[in-house]
Amino acid sequence: MSVLPPRIRSLGLSTGFALWLLLTNPRPARAEGDLSYKYEDYRESGGRIAVKTDGLFASQDLGGDFHLQAEGVIDSIAGATPNGQPAPAGSDQVVLTEMHDRRKAWNTTLSRQFSGTNVALGYAHSLESDYLSNGLSLNTITDFNEKNTELLLGIAGTDDRVKVFYQAPWDKKRASDAMIGVKQLLSPRTFVTFNLSWERQSGYLSDPYKLVQKSVEVAPGIFLPFTYAENRPPKRTKWVFLGALNHAFPSLNAAVDASYRFYHDSYDTYAHTVELKWLQRIGSHVILEPELRGYDQTKARFYHYNLDTTGIQPVGNVPLPDGPFYSSDHRLSALRTYTYGLKLTVTLSSTIRGDVALEKYEMRGKDGITPQSAYPQATILNTGFTISW
C-alpha cells in the first residue's frame, strides 16, 4: 500500500481550483456521499495475462466533520507470463507459464476535518492464495496561505505474508512509506504539485515463480541449462519525486494535466514517467479525456537475461540475504512503456454519472538482449458509474 493523499474535499479553495475540480470530477458540490462501481478488463495480447477487476467504492459524510470511505475489489487473474527462462535455441519466444489467481481486497479510510487540516486514517487488507497484506496509513492535508497552498504529509506501513511454495512457513515482507507534498495555486487557473515519497521494503522481495537459467558444461562441449529460483536483495529503498502542472482553459472549457515522475531505488533502477492529459468538456454533460503516458527505466543491477555470460553461480537454498543476487524477471530489465487512451465521462443527472475508458499499453525492451516476446502489449477497458447523494 503506497501513501496516497485522501480525496480532496476542500472544494472551496478558490474559484480556479474549484473550476478545475468541477471539470475533472463532476459531482454535486454539496454531495454527502457517493457509491461507485468500477469494472476493469486488462488483457494482454497473445493469450497472456488477463485481469478482470470488479470494484465497489463508497464514501459518506458522517457529520461532525467526519468522513468515511470504503472500497472492495475482486481481481481474477489468468493467463501466461514469462517465467524468467530464456528462449530455447533457435527460437525468440521466451518460456511462458500459465497462472491463475484471485485477489480480494478492501480498504477503508476515516478522515476528519480540523480547522485547516484534514487527517485521514486508513486500513487496507488484501488476500490472494499466496499473498496476504495488511496496511495502515495516516495522511494529513493542511491548508495555508488563504487556502492557496496545501501541505500533504503521509506515513504508511504494511505487514505482508508471502507463501513461497518451496518453503513451509509463510515468509514476511514489510514496507514503510513516507510522503511529503505541496500543492500550490499559482493563478486562478493554474496550480502545481510536488510530491516526494520514500519507501523501505524488507523481507522476502523475490518472486517465487520466477526462474533464472545458467548453462553449465557437463561434458566437453555439452552444456546443460540449469534453472534456479531467483534471489533478490532482502531490502529495497525507493524514492519517487512527482511534479505536476494543472492548468484550466475556461475559454475552451478544457484543462491540461501534465506530470513528470522520477523514480530511483536501491536496485539501481532509475525511471522517468511523463504523462499528459487533456480534459475537454463537451456541452454540459460530457467530458473527453485523451491521455498519453511514457515510461522509461534502467535495469536493476542484478537483472540478467540468463546467467551464461556472468560469473554468478546460483545457489540452491534461496533466499540468501547475503547474495549472490540475480533475477531474469523481464520487469526488472531496461524497458520502456507507452500508454495512450481515451476516457469519456457522462453526467447523466445531478446524482448519476458514468465513465468508460480505453487504453492501449505497450512494453518494449531496450537492452537488445531480452527478446521482445517477453514484453506484453495490452488493452485496458475501464467502465463504471457513480451515484451521489
Binding site: P88, K210, V315
Partner: protein
C-alpha cells in the same frame, strides 16, 4: 531417496502408426535399468555412430562416478569416509551437490539425498520384508538430513558414521537431460530419450506431431489408461509405489519414503506424473507431489513454473489446469 517407479511411462510412438521415416534405436543397460534412445538420423551413419558412442560413454562414466552400488565410485568413497574424513570433490560433483541444495530447498526436504539409511532400513527387496521398530527408524532418521552435510570448496564431509549420499532419486533424470543435450549437440532434432521410463522428448517422430507416451494404469500394471503427446523438449517422469512394495498384516508398504517421517508414503496416492521443461524437474516434482499427496501435491506442481501434473489415488484423479492439454487419448 528411493528411485521413482520404473513402469508407469511407456513410449507409444513406435507402437502406433508407422512413421514416415524410420527411427534409429539405441538400447543399453545402465543405472540398473534399460536405457533407450529413439531418434531420426538425417546425418547418416557417421553422425549416428558418433552420437551413440558419445552418449553411451557419458552414461557409463556418470554411473561409474556416482553410483552408490559401485564400491569405487566417488559417492561410495564419500559414504565410506562418513564420520572421519573429508573427501575431495571435483567441479562435476560440486555441481551435483548444488543440485542437491536446490532440490532439498525446493521440496522442503521431501527429496533428501541423505535418506539412504532409511532406504536401507526399509528393505522391500528382502525375501522376508519386515517393519522396522520405532527405535530403528529414529536411529536412521538421526543420520538423515541434507543440512548436516558439511561442505567446503572442493571438499565434502558426512559428519556421522552411517550417513550416506544417494543420487538415485534424481541421477537417472539428470542423465536423461544430458543425453538429450548430447543429441542436440550432434545435430539431432527429433529424439526421445527413455532411461527406465524417465523421458525427454525433442522434436517429434518423423511425420508425426508428437511423441506419444502411455500412462500406466496403477490398477492394471502394464496397461496404459491414457497417453500424452510430448514435443518441444519436454520431460516427463512418474512416481508410483504400486509395483515396488510389500504387504504385511494386510497393509501395503510402498518403496517411496518420506524422509521427514521415516515411513513409506501412505496418503492414498498411487501414481504421480509430471511434465516439465526437463526430465530432472519432472522427476523431482513427481516424487515430491507423490509424497505430499492430494491436494498439496497438485498445489505444489501448480505453483512451479512450466510444470503440469497428475495424481492418482484409489478414489480420484487430480490434475493441474494445463495437464489436459497434453492428453491425446
Amino acid at each position: 531417496m528411493p528411485p521413482v517407479a520404473s513402469t508407469s511411462l511407456r513410449p507409444a510412438a513406435a507402437t502406433g502408426a508407422t512413421p514416415a521415416a524410420p527411427l534409429r534405436r539405441l538400447g543399453f543397460p545402465a543405472m540398473g535399468t534399460t536405457c533407450e534412445i529413439q531418434y531420426a538420423a538425417p546425418g547418416g551413419r557417421d553422425r549416428s555412430d558418433d552420437f551413440e558412442q558419445a552418449v553411451v560413454a557419458w552414461v557409463q562414466a556418470f554411473e561409474a562416478k556416482y553410483s552408490r552400488f559401485r564400491p569405487d565410485s566417488l559417492v561410495s568413497r564419500i559414504n565410506a569416509a562418513a564420520g572421519h574424513d573429508w573427501v575431495e570433490v571435483d567441479d562435476d560433483m560440486e555441481r551435483l551437490l548444488q543440485l542437491c541444495d536446490t532440490m532439498y530447498t525446493m521440496t522442503q526436504g521431501v527429496l533428501d539425498p541423505t535418506a539412504l539409511p532409511l532406504i536401507r532400513l526399509w528393505n522391500w527387496k528382502a525375501d522376508r520384508p519386515r517393519i522396522p521398530t520405532a527405535e530403528e527408524i529414529a536411529a536412521a532418521r538421526r543420520l538423515v538430513g541434507w543440512p548436516k552435510v558439511q561442505r567446503a570448496p572442493g571438499r565434502i564431509f558426512l559428519p556421522e558414521p552411517g550417513m550416506a549420499l544417494d543420487f538415485g532419486g534424481f541421477g537417472k533424470e539428470y542423465a536423461v537431460d544430458v543425453a538429450a543435450q548430447i543429441a542436440t549437440e550432434h545435430g539431432l532434432a527429433d529424439v526421445l530419450v527413455d532411461f527406465g521410463h524417465d523421458l525427454r522428448a525433442l522434436g517429434a517422430p518423423p511425420g508425426r506431431p508428437a511423441w506419444h507416451i502411455g500412462l500406466e494404469d496403477p490398477r492394471r500394471p502394464g496397461t496404459p489408461w491414457a497417453s500424452v503427446g510430448l514435443r518441444g523438449g519436454r520431460g516427463i517422469a512418474s512416481s508410483g509405489d504400486y509395483v515396488r512394495c510389500f504387504e504385511l498384516n494386510g497393509r501395503r508398504y510402498g518403496h517411496i519414503l518420506d524422509p521427514r517421517t521415516g515411513w513409506p508414503v501412505a496418503n492414498g496416492c498411487s501414481q504421480a506424473t509430471v511434465i516439465a521443461g526437463t526430465c530432472l524437474q519432472a522427476g523431482v516434482l513427481s516424487t515430491t507431489a507423490f509424497v505430499l499427496g492430494v491436494p498439496q501435491g497438485i498445489d505444489f506442481i501448480q505453483a512451479c513454473p512450466d510444470a503440469e501434473g497428475l495424481l492418482l489415488t484409489n478414489q480420484i484423479r487430480a490434475q493441474t489446469r494445463g495437464f489436459s492439454h497434453y492428453v491425446v487419448s
